[in-house]
Amino acid sequence: MNDIISPENIVYKKPTLMNDTPMHYCAGCSHGVVHKLVAEVIEEMGMTDKTVGISPVGCAVFAYRYIDIDWQEAAHGRAPALATAVKRLWPDRLVFTYQGDGDMACIGTAESIHALNRGENITIIFINNAIYGMTGGQMAPTTLLGQKTSTCPYGRVPELHGYPLNITELAAQLRGTCYVTRQSVETVGAIRSAKKAIRKAFEASMAQKGSSLIEIVATCNSGWKLSPAQANKWMEENMFKQYPKGDLKDTTGL
């Protein structure tokens, strides 16, 4: 056994850009997987010293504790506005936002749509788990019909709560966007595809192709009150119907 466990035999380890600070996310939360991918892509692109991340309000508010790049903490929903300014003022930097569904698709809808529509050379990473995790499991604009949350305890119904919002489909209509895609991170294959998407979006932003939106359909096992494995299953059976995966737009040529 000992001769297998040796530095030259490593085929996978936590990316160096992700530090050793224990992460506050719940056991099994999708955030951790996406954080790893973001760290890996920045490292592989050699952009560690030229990247600025904009973190949200939501479970990922402390994203800046875990990936060793420069960060700015934005007010709820405002990250695309910060990113707009940073990228225009420092055009050679890699600038991305990392936001949840409340941040990107509720309070921040205007900032999201307009930054994407202006074609700012940024990437919005949008983690959609159809619930407000950090504040205790309330309904999100992306909560599914029939899904129960603390503010729709009998299940979401259109008469009271309206319909789930497919903001990514809206974004794909915007001329300023060059890459709009929906991914997930619950299987090895999905994770590999999500990483490729992040890499493509980051490269497109550096090549000044316009704005990119990567929606990661994700789980919130705490909010959904399921185990991590059960949450993955529930997501596969229910979320992908409302939020189908794949590229909605790709004019990057990359």
Binding site: M1, D3, I4, I5, S6, N9, I10, V11, Y12, K13, K14, P15, M18, D20, P22, M23, Y25, C26, A27, G28, C29, S30, H31, G32, V33, K36, V185, E186, T187, V188, I191, R192, N221, S227, P228, A229, N232
Partner: protein, 77 residues
Amino acid sequence: MGKFKGAIVVNTDRCKGCALCVEACPKGVIALAQKNVNIHGYPYVVAVNPDECIGCASCGIVCPDGCITVYKKRIED
């Protein structure tokens, strides 16, 4: 032909016992340790069938906390 043998090292202090690696492993290598918790109070995973490991790294890839380092070596037999 060369076969691969793998091995994993789990950072048990960082592990939160979410067991997604247990789900992902194609060879049944990993399981939650029984009656053990780490310093944070989380149950953690261990390689209970280390000889079965082929070093595919599925466990490492799906782990949300980056707890698992995966090794793989070609065995000339």
